[in-house]
């Protein structure tokens, strides 16, 4: 569905910095910019560059903030649908104004038409979502395709109008970043201020709308009206962005910086700041890169810069990035393995005669772990100073004994709790406690102690029979533990 196939007006030979060398079909080399050009771009000496860079940055900033809300509302593609839905409005505005003898291409009329059309599109999406069984994505797909098709059908008619110079009407939604004028920049700034103002004023309401729509409704917030205001902000920023920067760029600015920001934080206000910063910086860098290399279209460069930010954030994001999640997972796995080992050594040592060391062979039978897993756990625990390992034997260090006692005690407290309060059979509590013991908070332990009246710091007796044989692996969830083997 692309009206954006060709960057109309965003021609590579726009000649801001001299003409292109004649190139052959296969010549795809990129000329390196000279120092002169570099200096002029970095210092923003050219009026044209200044306008484009400034407008792109402001647009990226505002779109980042508005887009954050739509992203959290799980409507990332709303900007896509609504941008396409503006086309019939533009064509109808053109037809009406022309029919009354005005200049059909006057920006204000086209903007008005686009806004009305976008609002109608929003209304249809919300109506389909709220009143029928269709889901949000289907509603967006319907509005996007049908509205856009209507616009194109009308364009087909406009081309036959006697005084309809429809050429250039399409460029209204396909954009022309590089030839942005000061007027476009002013319009973008104005809309950005309005959008940011609305988002700041309705911050609390939008936050509630994004995270718990039902709760917002039950608290008496006008959910549908807020929804319309939010979508109105999307439409406003999209429309000014569209005619200045193009459809795909606009969609990207609404989606990519917020999605990247999401990897860095779980806090909404911080996410808004990061998204705004990424959007602005992406716009700035992309526009500057395009000014440096005359053959790179600015809109596409902005998108690619933002995409690079996204890729970086996805991998390195401090809160939800891939690496940090992997690392957290690994830490958890390690501590679980260590804790399992300590408790296994302790429980085997409890058997007569009491000791704090045990044979590796016995440990292997205690849980369903492989030799490699056991060796890994022993290595981890040895490095942490909980145990000393000999080729045959594993012995708890004094620190290890304290830790193992604590773990075993917590495990058994939970087991006792399950027996006393959840009416779980003693034969079944081991597995459940095995899962939860690693994440019990001190407050929970204190509560357990209070309820079970076991405030003295000793390890209670195991409520079920301990055995040297393997209790099955709790994570694979094989059979129930049949009491004694």
């Amino acid at each position: 569905m692309s009206g954006d196939w060709w960057p109309s007006g965003d021609s590579p030979s726009r000649g801001a910095f001299g003409s292109l060398a004649q190139s052959t079909l296969t010549d795809r080399s990129i000329e390196m910019p000279t120092w002169e050009i570099l200096r002029r771009v970095v210092l923003l000496e050219d009026y044209n560059t200044r306008v484009v860079v400034f407008a792109a940055a402001v647009l990226g900033c505002a779109a980042g903030v508005v887009g954050s809300f739509t992203l959290l509302r799980r409507r990332a593609l709303m900007g896509d649908a609504l941008s396409h839905a503006t086309l019939p409005g533009i064509t109808i505005a053109f037809m009406i104004v022309t029919a009354f003898g005005g200049n059909g291409k006057a920006l204000e009329w086209l903007l008005l038409g686009a806004t009305i059309s976008g609002l109608v599109g929003t209304g249809v999406i919300l109506a389909l979502r709220n009143l029928t069984r269709l889901k949000e994505d289907t509603a967006m797909g319907i509005v996007l395709s049908v509205f856009f098709a209507l616009g194109i059908a009308l364009l087909g008619v406009i081309q036959q109008m006697p005084d309809g110079h429809a050429a250039g009407l399409e460029s209204f939604i396909f954009g022309k970043t590089a030839s942005m004028t000061a007027r476009d920049a002013r319009l973008i700034s104005l809309s950005a201020i309005v959008c940011l103002g609305v988002c700041l004023m309705l911050f609390k309401e939008f936050k509630l709308l994004c995270f718990d729509e039902g709760f917002a409704a039950s608290e008496g917030y006008p959910v549908v009206a807020l929804d319309v205001v939010l979508m109105g902000a999307v439409i406003l920023i999209s429309i000014v962005g569209l005619q200045a920067a193009g459809l795909v760029l606009m969609i990207a600015l609404l989606i990519v910086p917020p999605a990247a920001a999401r990897f860095w934080t779980d806090d909404l206000s911080r996410m808004l700041l990061i998204a705004a910063f990424l959007g602005a910086f992406g716009g700035l860098l992309g526009a500057a890169a395009s000014a440096l290399f005359p053959r790179l279209p600015s809109g596409a460069m902005i998108v690619l810069t933002c995409a690079a930010f996204f890729g970086f954030s996805m991998v390195f994001g401090a809160s939800r990035g891939v690496l940090i999640r992997r690392w957290r997972r690994r830490q958890l796995n390690r501590s679980v393995a260590e804790q399992h080992l300590l408790r296994a050594v302790y429980e085997l040592g409890e058997l007569a005669p009491p000791s704090n060391s045990t044979l590796r062979q016995q440990l292997l039978g205690k849980r369903s772990w492989t030799k490699r897993q056991l060796d890994w756990a022993i290595r981890l625990a040895e490095r942490a100073g909980w145990v000393t390992a000999l080729p045959q034997r594993v012995t708890l260090t004094p620190r290890g004994i304290v830790e193992a006692k604590r773990l075993t005690r917590e495990h058994r407290l939970w087991e006792l709790y399950l027996i006393a309060y959840a009416e779980t059979a003693p034969a079944r509590v081991d597995r459940q406690a095995d899962r939860i013991e690693h994440v019990l908070e001190p407050e929970v332990i204190a509560e357990l102690e209070r309820r079970l009246e076991r405030e003295q710091q000793q390890v209670p007796q195991s409520p079920h029979e301990l055995s040297e044989q393997a209790t099955r692996d709790p994570t694979t969830g094989n059979n129930d533990k049949g009491g004694s083997p």
């Binding site: 569905m1 692309s2 009206g3 954006d4 196939w5 060709w6 960057p7 021609s11 590579p12 190139s23 079909l25 296969t26 795809r28 990129i30 992203l71 799980r74 990332a76 593609l77 896509d80 009143l131 029928t132 069984r133 269709l134 889901k135 949000e136 994505d137 289907t138 797909g141 319907i142 996007l144 395709s145 049908v146 856009f148 098709a149 209507l150 194109i152 059908a153 087909g156 008619v157 036959q160 399409e170 795909v248 760029l249 969609i251 990207a252 609404l254 989606i255 990519v256 999605a259 999401r262 053959r295 790179l296 279209p297 809109g299 596409a300 460069m301 998108v303 690619l304 995409a307 996805m314």
Partner: protein, 447 residues
């Protein structure tokens, strides 16, 4: 209709092929589209048609020509990759599906744009052709198959439609189960992931092939709108696919006709077929959303209104009955009834007229009176109400002050069998928790 058709002066030689191509394209897209709609991935068609640009650019650089086979292959490969990227980013980064699509298709599109601009001075990629679709040009590009002349688009789209039909026919059970319950599919030995990827491949190839032949406008519309229309009309997947095909075919035929006819009403010549097809399917969807027999907005609202009217009728006769119990003056003015029932004027007038018509209530000098038939209806209703109150107190342990509201709701849906049941459960109670008499059952068939 015939007159209009004749006036359009359709030439079957040309328009026949165009309509055939349009219909085949609509069918090819609508079949996999059903699963996109069910899996909440309706925007994937849009994402793929944007994202194929770098594939086309690479194909162009490699083949140094604009012939369609390399372009098709390049686009198809990138289309499939798009679907996989979306899935990959969604799972690896735990991003929302829509956001993942947005990131992937905008980035790929921008990449393709940068690549194409490098050779822009020499490439004439006509935006109009891709955008509006060259479906009108279908009859101009003929190929010869077994001695018969066929438009190339018809051949490609025909094969595609057949392939998609076979795909859904063969994997119907697997697609059904993995679309509605992926974990059940996995436990039954069907890999939901593989079905997903297979479907993605089908969608990507369909999108690219259709969009090469008929333009991109049509692709998204035909992926989403006919299945969504069918989804409004039925709850069965097989019916849904059938109906979506019907809508697709009708949009194809009517789309072409209206592309020629509608502008002529305003004195213009024809507009593009592809866009009018999408608009026609939109009209079908609109009609289905409003008037679908079970899920339509208007129908549902109407059914709700009728039900509320029936309940109001019940409440009115019950009010008259209760008045008769207390004062032997079982009559009330409209204004009084409105005040007692806390309802709007219009529905009350409607309800009263309905009751008069059925002979439950008569009007005498502005007062409403129960007839003997109405008395019977009211008696059973009050009996239901008070039996429920006793039951809720005895068996559900609710306080006497709390039983009225639920009884008020349940009374409208209680028939004589249920009343018999309640009677037994409450040991044939004669008074309700508030001490009022429970009237005897009246056999409605006797009257």
């Amino acid at each position: 209709m015939l007159v209009t058709l004749a006036a359009l002066n359709l030439s079957w030689e040309l328009d026949g092929w165009i309509i055939l191509a349009a219909v085949l394209c609509a069918i090819a897209c609508a079949i996999p589209g059903n699963f996109l709609v069910l899996r909440r991935m309706s925007m994937l068609g849009d994402a793929i048609t944007h994202a194929v640009l770098p594939g086309i650019a690479v194909a162009f650089f490699v083949s140094q020509s604009r012939s369609s086979l390399p372009m098709f292959l390049g686009a198809a490969v990138v289309g499939i990759l798009t679907a996989f990227f979306v899935d990959w980013i969604q799972r690896l980064g735990r991003v929302d599906e829509g956001a993942s699509m947005g990131v992937v298709f905008t980035s790929l599109f921008a990449l393709g744009l940068v690549m194409i601009v490098q050779a822009a001075d020499h490439v004439e990629l006509d935006p109009g052709c891709v955008l509006y679709g060259a479906i009108e040009l279908t009859p101009l590009d003929m190929v010869i198959v077994q001695g018969r002349e066929l438009p190339r688009a018809v051949l490609i789209l025909g094969l595609l439609a057949i392939a998609n039909t076979v795909f859904v026919g063969v994997f119907f059970k697997e697609l059904l189960i993995s679309s509605f319950d992926p974990s059940l599919a996995t436990t039954s030995g069907i890999s939901a992931a593989w079905m997903h990827y297979l479907l993605m491949v089908v969608v990507a190839v369909t999108a690219v092939a259709c969009f090469e032949s008929v333009g991109s406008v049509l692709v998204v519309a035909m992926f989403v709108v006919p299945p969504a229309t069918a989804y409004m009309l039925t709850d069965r997947l097989s019916w849904m696919i059938g109906l979506s095909l019907l809508v697709a075919v009708l949009s194809g035929v009517l789309g072409h006709i209206s592309a020629i006819a509608v502008p002529s009403w305003f004195g213009f010549q024809s507009t593009t077929t592809a866009s009018m097809m999408a608009v026609c399917s939109g009209v079908f969807l609109f009609a289905a959303a409003l008037f679908a027999p079970r899920h339509g907005i208007v129908i549902r609202a109407g059914r709700r209104y009728l039900l509320s009217l029936r309940i109001l009728c019940d409440d009115l006769v019950a009010l008259l009955y209760r008045l008769g119990e207390g004062t032997n003056e079982a009559r009330i003015k409209m204004e009084g009834a409105q005040e007692s029932l806390l309802c709007q004027r219009l529905p009350l007038v409607l309800a009263a007229r309905l009751l008069v018509q059925r002979g439950d209530v008569s009007l005498s000098d502005g007062h409403l009176l129960l007839t003997s038939q109405g008395q019977q209806r009211a008696q059973n209703l009050i009996r239901s109400h008070r039996l429920w109150e006793s039951y809720l107190q005895d068996q559900a342990g609710m306080g006497a002050d709390r039983v009225h509201v639920p009884a008020e709701r349940l009374e409208h849906f209680t028939d004589s069998r249920l009343r018999g049941e309640l009677d037994r459960e409450t040991n044939t109670a004669t008074t309700d928790p508030h001490g009022r008499d429970i009237p005897a059952e009246v056999d409605a068939r006797d009257r």
